[in-house]
Symmetry: C2
Subunit: 168 residues, 2 copies
């Protein structure tokens, strides 16, 4: 088996954000996908060790912020390689709160989709959070960042907790 | 809610193939994603009305054939818009059978991943088939087809049974 074949699967790049009490947090994820069209449902795979996992478990909802292709590496590093246990990720980042209290990015984002979680699937190291899209809008006409673009053009990498991490 | 925000989610394009007894069949899907890295697990969302759904339910495994970017529309139409109840989809198409008997494309494909299904999640119109990658290889260095490329450059569309279908 050649695990590099997994690199041929295409993804976007997203900041998944949620609320826990009066705290908000977010993290980078690439493994977001639509399950059904009627009703529109989405799924995301989140590492159980990630701080955002706790937040989604509590708010039972999350926002998928679709990063635009020009998002800088400092922004991605803040959300993808730092932990919300150590820093307030949304400090100084333009955002607003959804009706459910989850943060919607107002910078570096081309669209958002808010999901009310109906089901979680325990996958060992990760949980798949599945639910109906309850709010969504396009923010601007920017191209979404793809995972391929992030790797090739931005020279980005996957953190160890990512579903798509491969040991080199 | 603006359902067009769903179009900002990025995907690849795949021919999902499986076996039922001595018959083989395949269909186009875009909603494939990795769930965990250790062990490597994949998920795909398949419409319950699709013929391939029956095949995966029987073989409890499937191959994700990663289409390359130059795959022609005739090929995609054959696998995506025709039904295996009416035609033998693999007739005249270069392929071989995996150890589990699932078809691996030997044309228009840049990589394949075979999944042994461990879990299914009933999502109303669709089933998510989740399982461990038991075989995988890169076939060539071609770029994978992305769903965005299929829509923009190839002028492709989504069939009604697709998770990402949006009524215009």
């Amino acid at each position: 088996m050649n695990p590099k074949a997994l690199h041929k699967i295409s993804y976007g790049l997203y900041a998944i954000a949620a609320r826990k009490g009066d705290k908000i947090n977010g993290q980078i994820a690439n493994t977001v996908f639509q399950i059904t069209s009627k009703p529109p449902t989405l799924a995301v795979s989140i590492n159980k060790g990630n701080y955002t996992h706790e937040f989604i478990k509590e708010s039972w909802s999350y926002v998928v912020n679709v990063l635009d292709r020009d998002t800088g590496m400092i922004f991605i590093g803040r959300f993808g390689f730092k932990c919300g246990r150590d820093i307030e990720k949304f400090d100084g980042i333009k955002h607003r709160l959804s009706a459910l209290g989850n943060p919607i990015l107002e910078e570096n984002s081309t669209a958002y989709l808010e999901v009310r979680v109906d089901e979680e699937v325990d996958m060992g190291t990760h949980t798949i959070f599945i639910g109906e899209v309850v709010d969504a809008d396009i923010i601007n006409d920017s191209e979404p960042m793809t995972y391929a673009y992030y790797h090739m053009v931005k020279k980005g990498r996957a953190p160890k907790a990512a579903p798509t991490y491969i040991e080199e």
